[in-house]
């Protein structure tokens, strides 16, 4: 064992309460000084207690992130009339505001805005995005779209069941899928309507 290793071993024995060898006792004043200094560094319990509110303030400051919520996605369109016809008449959304530059539509629980891109000859960049809608009545929606000569591709999606894929007048990709619980909803509606009819005939 090298000298340093030996002394480290001896010091460890001493620190664990063992006997003090002759050649190690020169280190003990240093050990005691370190021990003393570390003890004196110890913060007073009152001071520790006074720091608790500071800790909580810091945590609150960390968690106080700014919060935003989605107002609506906006699609840039080259022909406002054609887009409104598509979203209002073919898909059945309700127009909330209508204008040459900006129109907004109610889309179930959210909204969709259409903004004219200012140039009928310039197609907007439709990019890698997809606007997804859901419905309880996929077949009726598909029929209505096809009656307007809109090309619709109906397929089975592994995650969402049957869905319809199509493009809006600018080429934005649209997917309409069936609600996961469509069957359950339809059954509930049917039962409610049967109950209402039974109630009326009782009256």
């Amino acid at each position: 064992m090298k000298g340093d290793d030996l002394r480290a071993e001896q010091l460890a024995t001493v620190l664990d309460g063992g006997p003090v060898p002759d050649d190690i006792d020169v280190l003990l004043p240093a050990v005691n000084r370190i021990r003393d200094v570390l003890q004196r560094l110890g913060p007073h319990p009152d001071h520790v207690a006074s720091l608790l509110p500071v800790l909580l303030e810091r945590l609150l400051a960390m968690s106080a992130r700014p919060v935003v919520e989605l107002a609506h996605p906006t699609l840039y369109v080259r022909d406002m009339d054609a887009s409104l016809t598509f979203y209002r008449d073919a898909l059945g959304l309700t127009v909330r505001e209508e204008g040459p530059w900006l129109s907004t539509l109610d889309a179930g629980g959210s909204a969709l805005a259409l903004r004219w891109n200012g140039n009928p000859r310039q197609a907007p960049n439709v990019g890698d995005m997809c606007i997804e809608f859901r419905t309880d009545e996929l077949d009726r929606v598909v029929q209505a779209l096809r009656r307007r000569a809109i090309v619709v591709d109906v397929k089975a999606d592994r995650h969402r069941g049957r869905c319809a894929e199509l493009r809006d007048p600018d080429g934005y990709a649209i997917t309409i899928f069936t609600r996961a619980d469509a069957t359950e909803r339809a059954a509930t509606r049917l039962l409610a309507s049967r109950d209402a009819t039974a109630q009326q005939s009782d009256d």
């Binding site: 290793d5 010091l11 000084r33 004196r40 110890g42 913060p43 001071h47 608790l52 968690s63």
Partner: protein
Amino acid sequence: MAIDLSDDRKLIAAAQANAAAFGFVFARYYGPIFRYAVLRTGDPADAEDLAMDVFTEALAALPRFRWEDRPLLAWLFSIARHRSVSRRRKASGRAPSAALDPPATHNGLHEASAEARRLLGKLDGATAEALVLRFVVDCSFEEIAALQGIALSAAKMRVYRAVAKARRVMGVDDEG
């Protein structure tokens, strides 16, 4: 203070059920973490700031914390090591700042801190941690080795080197 896994487990469970109980973790372990921070930074104000960073991060991470039969102090030290390194990186090139009130409230802290700095200099994280574990938490060398994931002989050597350095600073004539 000795490390008690059963106490640690109860403390962390209580704090996860109710964050207010984290106050007990703070009261129990602020001292060792603060002393470690002094040995790392050499400055009480910076040390207090660092120690508060450690507990703030621990409190924020509490919901994700999973008990793995390791002392809480090991978790807190790992945050402290990481924090002290990143603070050092950020601090390089800019003047030091005291983010909290100067901790002059506890008597003799500046003097003790200056003496620690004179005796030991700014220690590397592992050595500072080993000293605190040995002299403050009263860990055995076996516990230090287990906590730091090193051999028993390496744990002894870390403490020995710090003591030998302190002795050199003190000088032979200064003994006693």
